[in-house]
Amino acid sequence: MNEKPEKLIDKKGLRLDGRKADELRPLKLQVGVLPNADGSAYIEHGKNKILAAAFGPREMHPKHLAQADRMVLRCRYHMAPFSVQERKSPAPSRREVELSKVIKESLEPALFHELYPRTGVDVFVEVLQADGGTRCASITAAALAIADAGVPMRDLVVACAAGKVDDTIVLDLYDAEDKLGVADVPVAYMPSLNAVTLLQMDGILTPAEFEKAVNMAMDGCRKIYELQKEALKTKYMVVKEVEE
């Protein structure tokens, strides 16, 4: 995408990729994809392709990071060098350090830290291909990986962005809309608890537009939440068939 198209939304109200304003990209979720991880998940969210692995609760390394009264969650969000148009250096960028922190903080409210004192849970997220909204897709996959590892959770955490493109509030921005649009509001949410665990924004929105965007993102989250639960159940259904 070199030239900015005149309009990102056509006369019929459709977006460049043919979606309606409140339509999600196609999603595919899979649980238990990595044999060596305690829990894992793979997500395809539009053209985003992301793997998440969870390890633990296990002994903390280095040991001095362990907490006597609680488990420690650590997260690393990392983009593969080939995941974007121009090769990205594999060394962690400032963006990746920040995203690792906010992803960790979006998952923490779901965990019962006090159940596993002196241990750690490590979550590694590898973005194999990026197409806008990777932090949200990463959170959706990471929550599934933690659940797959058998770590008790208050609820699954699911994330989706909304934003403003031209003059319209839209759901689930992809790369071109993210770069050329007016604003982007990623939201992570625990639907059963009505709790927002990640909220960021860049761009400019009036307070009314902001409210609309947050509500639209939460609606998107609720739809993805159903797919998340489906993906978890599917894994165990497959195992059952093999046993029989």
């Binding site: 350090v97 922190k101 903080e105 924004m201 761009g203």
Partner: protein, 263 residues
């Protein structure tokens, strides 16, 4: 970790907040006293020191020439860096920036960038080749809570204090002339952080309140009351109602804080 001490403190802070009070006798929606001093580093093109209670931030702005980004060949470049200097807190260690200082720098950067506070189109010298690069360096001198708001305010105060060298282009060469002009600014974003303790929202959390609070929501608000950047931090959550309440608080408080800036 001093978890037993913070638990006693948590109870005390929670009991006070339930009564609408705080440790330092502020109201729940009050900032600590704010002092702004501009232009105290002569070597820097712009500088400012902000005292927010006992939290102290020094920001220096350096303006140099460099290359524009390929996707914005006609625009100057803005970069923000933050140093959690070890003199500011026993918990700050020397070494490369950790996630906290990177987050601080990126949140301050986002507020300025997304509100288009710096008129970067006026910082172009030669399209695609040479532009002015504005380095905003946030130096935390004393940590007593709410580094985000204090740093964002100090960064704005320093940018408003920044003078650019006059220049002319002769035979494709940049020549610095005598005299200075102010850095071209278009807007004045103010970042307001709302902390959540036990389901109560407080403004401008102090250090001890930060240690016990569930989570925070920082919002940058522009001159016209529009929101231009948000960051949630901490390991708790917000309900949708709390988010809308926080956004109202941010708009009100930003207008109040903006009066402290002079331009």
């Amino acid at each position: 970790m001093s978890s037993s001490i913070t638990r006693v403190r948590l109870k005390q802070i929670e009991e006070l907040i339930a009564k609408g009070q705080r440790l330092d006798e502020r109201g729940l929606r009050d900032y600590r006293e704010i002092k702004i001093e501009q232009g105290l580093i002569e070597r820097a093109e712009g500088s400012a020191r902000v005292l927010l209670g006992k939290t102290e931030i020094l920001v220096g702005v350096k303006v140099e020439t460099g290359e524009p980004f390929p996707d914005t060949p006609n625009e100057g470049v803005q970069t923000v860096n933050a140093e959690l200097v070890p003199i500011a807190s026993p918990n700050f260690e020397p070494g490369p920036p950790d996630e906290n200082s990177i987050e601080l720098a990126r949140v301050v950067d986002r507020g300025i960038r997304e509100s288009k506070a710096i008129d970067t189109l006026k910082l172009c010298i030669e399209p695609g080749k040479k532009v002015f690069v504005v380095f905003v360096d946030v130096y935390v001198l004393n940590h007593d809570g709410n580094l985000i708001d204090a740093s964002a305010l100090a960064a704005m105060a320093a940018l408003l204090n920044t003078k650019m060298p006059n220049y002319e282009i002769k035979d494709g060469e940049l020549k610095i002339k005598q005299g200075y002009t102010p850095l071209p600014m278009k807007s004045h974003p103010i970042t307001v952080t709302v902390g959540k303790i036990n389901n109560s929202l407080i403004v401008d959390p102090g250090l001890e309140e930060e240690q016990v609070m569930d989570s925070r929501l920082s919002m940058a608000v522009n001159d016209d009351g529009n929101i231009c950047a948000i960051q949630k931090g901490g390991s708790g959550y917000f309900t949708p109602q709390q988010i809308l309440e926080a956004s109202k608080i941010a708009q009100e408080k930003a207008a109040e804080l903006r009066k402290k800036l002079e331009w």
